[in-house]
């Protein structure tokens, strides 16, 4: 009786391990799909960010035209390397819906 029980248990474990290995292989496949798509998505995201920064710069030039002593697009940091802009900065002059999409859109997807 014990033998049968333990036999069933061990058989169950063996099946589990096999299926887990299979799942790991499937996960590797999914991750590889992601790896191969990353450059495309990164490039598009970069272009979008730069375009939004450009538009913000032009808007800023328009808005702060008459303020004395304001350098348009002045760097807020003491360095000249690339600082990744914050989401709030980028989407400042756009409707709030776009910022929400950017922040939480992935949650809805997952």
């Amino acid at each position: 009786m014990f033998g049968i029980g333990i036999g069933v248990l061990v058989f169950g474990y063996w099946r589990l391990f096999k299926w887990n290995r299979e799942r790991r292989r499937l996960q590797i496949e999914d991750l590889e799909a992601r790896i191969s798509l990353l450059p495309l998505l990164q490039a598009e995201h970069d272009r979008r960010t730069l375009r939004m920064l450009r538009q913000n710069l032009e808007e800023e030039a328009k808005i702060m035209k008459d303020v004395p002593g304001w350098k348009v697009g002045e760097n807020v940091f003491h360095t000249d390397r690339w600082v990744t802009p914050l989401n709030d900065e980028l989407f400042n002059l756009r409707p709030a819906e776009e910022l929400l999409h950017k922040k939480f859109g992935f949650q809805w997807y997952v």
Partner: protein, 159 residues
Amino acid sequence: VNVKVNVSSAVLKAAAHHYGSQCDKANKEFMLCRWEEKDPRKCLNEGRKVNECALQFFRQIKTNCAEPFTEYWTCLDYSNLSELRRCRKQQHAFDSCVLDKLGWERPALGDLSKITKVQTDRPFPENAYHSRPRPEPNPVIEGELQPSKHGSRLFFWNW
């Protein structure tokens, strides 16, 4: 001219493995540039090449293997999580079609995650972080070092 790659996510995932093996060169160069320079403004040219390669890739699929590909990605779209294991039949059909017409092989499991060496003409950027000049290292201590007299002299210990 920058044209967006106008496809949806299921399509991308369906074609991802072949895309990874075909457009490998442009992708790796772009990623290398991005990682080394840490500045998206410096990598716009490589990004453009990536985009062109992707467009070329999808154009080739459309002209040659449109039918099996459409079936494959509609099948993937149907499942909730775009699981690849639900669509093995269509994947097989698509793979054989692509192999016959274009000679592309699907990379084996684990091939896309291998570490590769990338060859570029771009020189390695010095000081990608734009850091200020580092201070001089400490000069070499000359003379014999003796254990200190009267012990360690830390607080009250004198041994």
